[in-house]
Symmetry: C2
Subunit: 439 residues, 2 copies
């Protein structure tokens, strides 16, 4: 018998604030960070022992809180039989979420939920590695009943019952092999880029990056807005002029507005043919997003990167508040909570276009999008996954984007492993980068 023998927790911070990468109206000095979890086992594999890697994403200060909370969860896994863990990730999830003292601190939101995401991401990575498959394939080849048993359907039965979830997954079983072949032949899963549109970039840099994006094959680009209306009109006009009429242009306000203000502001920009307005207001405001959606049609409403849990997404769908559902792979509590959102969205015909960027989110979401195509919806229509060209060099199995598509990952796991050298350099505050920075 093999066991989980130890956990390692690392507070990793990358000094992205120094280049204005990632700057938007709400977040002007983000240091992309990961509360990073390694589940260590005593199972021998080529080159050492089997380990599962996972993380949640934050933007700097407070990352230590997520790391500590992840430690509180992960330590409960030490000593568990590895078979019992990977064969029952629903049971592991329920064991961790049934800690009522930690639950009080959310419930199911904020620091403790981000920490749960980190730990469960590592657990799913572990399961897929042990099976020798990339996570998207591991999930696609898992028995549907086993997969449904792993899902957190609590509080969802007025929108998605267990039977409905099982039926949706079973229906795709005979179609999956062909869909995998189709997606592979197409070059992978389509994506869009946010790399051009950060608020901190000047016009020349924005125009150059937009041109490069179109040349690389992107059909969708996104700009940050929300700090100044006149400036936004100028930048959005310049962007539309740069990319021409055939490229879809999205804007992202990062929660800057109240509901009436959002409607007014977006209407002032609509002449430039906007595909969606992202995060127009508080991520918690389901009814507010519904009002904005009615107010800015035909511009679509997108939100979700700060969507705290599956109950919030259930309501966004029930209230017909969104046109695009942007789940975050490190804010929702991993596969257990993410797949129910995908299933609910599919039931309502709303495309899931995952949030990515940050550090490592692109590595994770490629698996989710591919699984969505293979096992849930079978379409990429109106579905595009975010891609930001930052920090991939720290990952042992980085995502590869070519011709505006994520190539299908082939190595075992959830693509979440960070190089030991990167950990040694960017661990906060004792990593070599931060020690040098402080001196």
């Amino acid at each position: 018998m093999t066991r989980i023998t130890d956990v390692e927790i690392h507070d990793l911070r990358f000094p992205t604030s120094k280049t204005a990468d990632g700057s938007d109206a709400m977040n002007q000095d983000a240091d992309y960070s990961a509360a990073y979890v390694v589940l260590v086992t005593d199972e021998q594999v080529q080159g050492g022992t089997l380990r599962g890697h996972g993380f949640t994403f934050t933007i700097g200060r407070g990352n230590e809180l997520c790391a500590q909370a992840a430690g509180l969860y992960a330590e409960r896994l030490i000593g568990l039989d590895l078979d019992s863990v990977v064969d029952d990730l629903g049971g592991v999830y329920r064991m961790l979420t049934s800690d009522s003292q930690l639950r009080w601190l959310g419930p199911e939101k904020g620091v403790v939920h981000l920490a749960l995401a980190a730990v469960m991401n590592a657990a799913w990575d572990l399961a897929a590695r042990r099976a020798g498959k990339p996570l998207w394939r591991y999930l696609a080849e898992l028995d549907s009943k086993t997969l449904v048993d792993a899902l957190d359907l609590r509080y969802l039965s007025d929108e998605l019952t267990r039977d409905q979830a099982l039926a949706m997954l079973r229906a795709s079983e005979p179609l999956r092999a062909a869909r995998i072949a189709e997606l592979d032949a197409a070059g992978g899963y389509p994506c869009y880029t946010t790399s051009a549109g950060w608020l901190g970039y000047d016009d020349d840099k924005m125009v150059r990056l937009l041109r490069e994006a179109v040349d690389e094959g992107y059909r969708h680009v996104k700009l940050k807005v929300g700090r100044d209306l006149a400036e936004d009109r100028r930048r959005v006009a310049l962007a539309r002029q740069t990319v021409g009429p055939d490229i879809k242009l999205m804007i992202d306000a990062n929660q800057m507005w109240d509901v009436p203000e959002a409607i007014d502001w977006v209407r002032e920009l609509q002449e430039y043919d906007l595909h969606w307005i992202e995060e127009p207001t508080s991520p918690d405001d389901v009814l507010g997003h519904a009002a904005i959606r009615r107010g800015v049609a035909p511009t679509g409403v997108a939100t979700g990167e700060h969507g705290m849990n599956r109950v919030l997404f259930k309501q966004l769908l029930q209230a017909e508040a969104i046109d695009f559902c942007q789940i975050d792979s490190a804010r929702l509590a991993s596969i257990n909570e993410i797949l129910p959102v995908y299933l609910m969205a599919a039931g309502r015909g709303i495309p899931v276009c995952p949030h990515a960027g940050g550090v490592g989110l692109c590595e994770l979401v490629q698996h989710l999008s591919i699984f969505d195509y293979v096992a849930i919806t079978g379409t990429t229509e109106d579905r595009i996954t975010e891609y930001v060209d930052h920090l991939h060099e720290h990952f042992t199995d980085p995502c590869i984007v070519e011709s505006a598509r994520y190539r299908m990952p082939q190595l075992p796991g959830y693509s979440a492993q960070i190089f030991a050298d990167s950990i040694a350099t960017y661990r906060f505050p004792e990593g070599t980068y931060w020690v040098a920075d402080a001196s």
Copy 2:
């Protein structure tokens, strides 16, 4: 000039799990805890220097996360001029909430928001102490424009504008002195008791405590439900039989149910004439509460103790999802965020019946309820504040409940100060109680 010179942060935990006080269907081993903040100044007052005391409430493990996060916020206040702090608590609040890196960890929910509540509670305590008034009177005598400037109205303008908030407060100004006299003459603000109905208590204890409650003058009592339907029917029937037909009986499910299950379960108990069902499902599920309310009328729906922020309450009101609004004084970010919820509720005619109990929550909410009467609604109709007879002995200015009413606090501040001896005993893990417990 005097300044905030230091902050003290204490992780205090009381071993309440050993007596089943506080046990309910979701939370079976709560150790009532406080992440406790002291803002230290160099202003000389009788007996030493002026200090502001505040806390947030948790139920055990993870309290250290709130304490640490409170430290991240509170340390930013060190060195600030005391005048500038107490005269502009809106500015202090905005300074703290504009930390975008900490904001990412919510936003405005979970550990970082609980921590903000602790720090701002201490800041309001400091302001009231410095003015030599109990907080309810300090607020009631504050200029309405100054008070509105302190409120966090962001994301609320589709329900409550700044002008509306100001008009509501100004309208009550001429009425306040008479209302204070009325409430004082009535013996204070009415409350109900939860002390009888914890799930961990046996029938004899429940019946005895219910009889005592009625004898003490309570007109409302509350029972925990949600673990077993047959058992709930038996206990609710016994409680109704014990208190007779004229006492209002409330039940509290502590989030145990999905939406359809909540409707079915409450209908099975309705024959015992229930005043409200509290926390029937996920606290995040605005639309779910609205569906439950339609499904269980005329039983009222109450929720809010886990209501994460003002945006959630705005939606509960807009969706007509609740009959009773149960804000929590340590989960919302203090007066800055709580009063906007009171104003929105008043605008919709929904009574606010604050959650209390835990440790110190009764001490805080008495100030809020009194302010509601004096400066917002001028009525106690359908308004009752929770009271639980636990842990008051640790407070230097404990709430006093007589004949089922909170007597109006008279000492300066927010009644939030805990005795030094209690801190030395229950500080975790180094307090004398915990050291002895571990040995």
